[in-house]
């Protein structure tokens, strides 16, 4: 097959489109099934083990609903803060020159390398009772947000950075020469170019915030209806031998997250629809 394609002397893309493409597709489908789809299917399967009534009952228990609302709310706030702060950080890293920039650039990824439980412990020591700044947010919803901001920091920065690097400054200069103020330049030229990247970073940050466990289990007080997020609630149900309840809430959480991700994706495609003409 491969040699056949070579004899045809077609353009390279055609070769990879036939033989290589099939292999890649096979790997992609096989890998995705094994690593993502099968576990998710098993989760959905186990959530309905005791019937649909039981699923609905478990998913709509007041504790579960309260935890779900809190989780989605905090994750949304976290994603929004990231959208602004992450873009600003990316901007500084690309457009500014300052000593130690390389180090700062590497530090951005540290929250990924740190086991999240260690992150929780560190934040607790800093912003908890007896912390050095006298700024005690531990065991409150604000503490929850702080922990999530920490673990989701890299997403928007790393999504926006490469786009900003590629962005031609000529357009901005042209706009400036025509009398546009710096805010107008940002709003009309830079922002529209960055928006798709910001959105994909936001989507990732949101998804991560929804599922985070390690960092929040320490810093949230785990009080039902107040500071208990879904991941901690699910953990509690598992520990108490209520596997169906845990699976039911997980499925609801996944479904809502999937919906949000699809919406963001659709919006992104709509924004970039002209790029593919």
């Amino acid at each position: 097959m491969a040699s056949n394609a070579a004899v045809l002397e077609g353009p390279k893309q055609v070769v990879s489109g036939r033989a290589g493409g099939a292999v890649a597709r096979g790997i992609a489908i096989g890998y995705l099934s094994l690593v993502v789809l099968l576990p998710l299917a098993a989760l959905i399967w186990s959530s309905r083990a005791e019937g649909l009534d039981s699923f609905w009952h478990q998913a709509t228990r007041p504790e579960a609903v309260a935890a779900l609302k809190l989780t989605l709310g905090v994750a949304a706030v976290c994603a929004l803060v990231n959208a602004v702060a992450g873009t600003a950080i990316a901007w500084v890293l690309v457009r500014d020159r300052f000593p130690g920039k390389g180090v700062v650039d590497s530090v951005i990824d540290l929250p990924f390398a740190l086991p999240t439980i260690v992150a929780g412990l560190t934040l607790l020591a800093l912003y908890g009772p007896g912390g050095p700044f006298g700024f005690d947010v531990a065991f409150t919803r604000l503490g929850l947000l702080v922990a999530l901001l920490f673990v989701t920091l890299p997403f928007v920065v790393r999504a926006v950075q490469p786009v900003l690097l590629e962005l031609d400054t000529e357009m901005e200069e042209a706009a400036a020469s025509l009398g546009a103020g710096s805010f107008a330049v940002f709003r009309r030229i830079v922002f529209p170019n960055l928006l798709p990247a910001i959105l994909s970073g936001v989507a990732l940050a949101f998804a991560r915030a929804v599922g985070e466990f390690g960092a929040v289990v320490l810093i949230s007080g785990n009080i039902p209806f107040k500071t208990e997020v879904s991941s901690v609630y699910i953990f509690g149900q598992l520990q108490s031998g209520n596997g169906t309840g845990a699976a039911a809430v997980s499925v609801v959480l996944l479904t809502i997250s999937l919906g949000v991700l699809l919406l963001i994706g659709a919006f992104r495609r709509w924004r970039t629809r002209h790029d593919h003409v």
Binding site: R61, P62, E63, A66, L121, L124, A125, G128, P129, G130, A138, F139, V217, L218, G221, N222, I223, P224, F225, K226, E228, V232, F235, G236, Q237, L238, Q239, S240, G241, N242, G245
Partner: protein, 326 residues
């Protein structure tokens, strides 16, 4: 080519030495996390005895409930050491541990402890008994009983102490409602609760005596009070059906009640169950000590207690948790 031969030879040598080390057989110990140091010492002492000579003990430590579920899901285990009976019973239900696992002279209990109050140095809020925990301005730290199996000991100590003081079942449950109004944080495990208390949160920490002693040893500025009425914590060990087939596992299981092993537990703050060893350690014996099987206080063993208090939906504690949040 030569390099490959040398490498193969090396592998063969390694394999040879590995099988040589385990000529006495190997056993898998799956345990909850806090007694890790004690087991480390017990294992090296065991390997110096005749039945333990050349026996490899592979050890796994983690949260008690997680460990039980891992074994239920297929993790190899000859001996399980867990923090409370229900975790062992989970394995009985799966057919991995025989029903009569507690049928030895110590009822399968390898060490004891009691529920104590850890307070700040000098006990500034003068906390002595259970009544002091529900005074205004007192914050109590206890793990969440649904995420931490161990936290259930605290809840049952609180309930039992009320009954021991002459209160009715209804009054004792009302006490639990009041107590949990004073709990600002419910960490997911006993160790994390200690960590948070050490950070400066709360006035009292409800925990095991051995954890309180561990905190003192680690230099946390605390002291602990043993209330007059409190619950005896009993930690079980069981041989699995797999372990029953191995002479080495059976020997190790028996060794856990030897004087050497019991001393190792006592040195880590656990109350030994062997009388001859217990005599040489001076653990304070509270006047109103009761167990999870003290039926006249409404405590009818873990199976019934779990169902009544810790059912994730209908349990007493599920309702208590709901009441504090709403």
């Amino acid at each position: 080519m030569r390099a490959i031969w040398i490498a193969l030879l090396g592998v063969a040598l390694l394999a040879g030495s590995a099988s040589g080390a385990s000529k006495g057989g190997s056993i898998d110990l799956v345990a909850y996390s806090t007694p890790k140091d004690a087991y480390g010492k017990i294992i090296s002492a065991f390997q110096k005895t005749r039945p333990g000579n050349g026996v490899d003990v592979s050890q796994s430590y983690g949260a008690s409930g997680d460990q039980a579920r891992a074994v239920a899901a297929g993790q190899d285990a000859d001996i399980v050491a867990l923090s409370l009976d229900p975790d062992v019973n989970l394995l009985v239900g799966k057919g991995l541990v025989p029903k009569n696992w507690s049928a030895n002279s110590h009822k399968g209990i390898v060490s004891d402890s009691v529920v104590v109050f850890v307070v700040r140095d000098g006990n500034p809020k003068k906390i002595k008994g259970w009544g002091d925990l529900i005074k205004p301005d007192v914050q109590v730290i206890t793990p969440n009983p649904f995420t931490s199996g161990g936290a259930r000991w605290n809840v049952m100590a609180a309930y039992g102490a009320q009954r021991r003081a002459g209160k009715s079942d209804k009054q004792a449950i009302a006490y639990l409602y009041k107590l949990f109004k004073h709990v600002p944080v419910q960490p997911d495990s006993a160790r994390v609760a200690l960590q948070i208390f050490a950070q400066g949160k709360g006035d009292v920490l409800l925990t095991y005596e051995n954890e309180a002693m561990y905190a003192e040893k680690k230099g946390v500025h605390t002291q602990y009070q043993t209330p007059k009425n409190t619950l005896l914590i009993e930690t079980p060990v069981a041989l699995t059906k797999r372990g029953l087939k191995k002479p080495a596992a059976k020997a190790f299981y028996k060794y856990l009640w030897s004087a050497t092993a019991q001393k190792a537990f006592a040195d880590q703050g656990y109350r030994p169950v062997l009388k001859s060893v217990a005599k040489t350690y001076h653990f304070y014996k509270p006047a109103g000590l009761f167990t999870i099987d003290t039926t006249k206080l409404g405590l009818n063993g873990w199976v019934k207690v779990n169902k009544r208090f810790f059912h994730p939906e209908k349990g007493v504690m599920a309702k208590v948790e709901r009441s504090i949040g709403q």
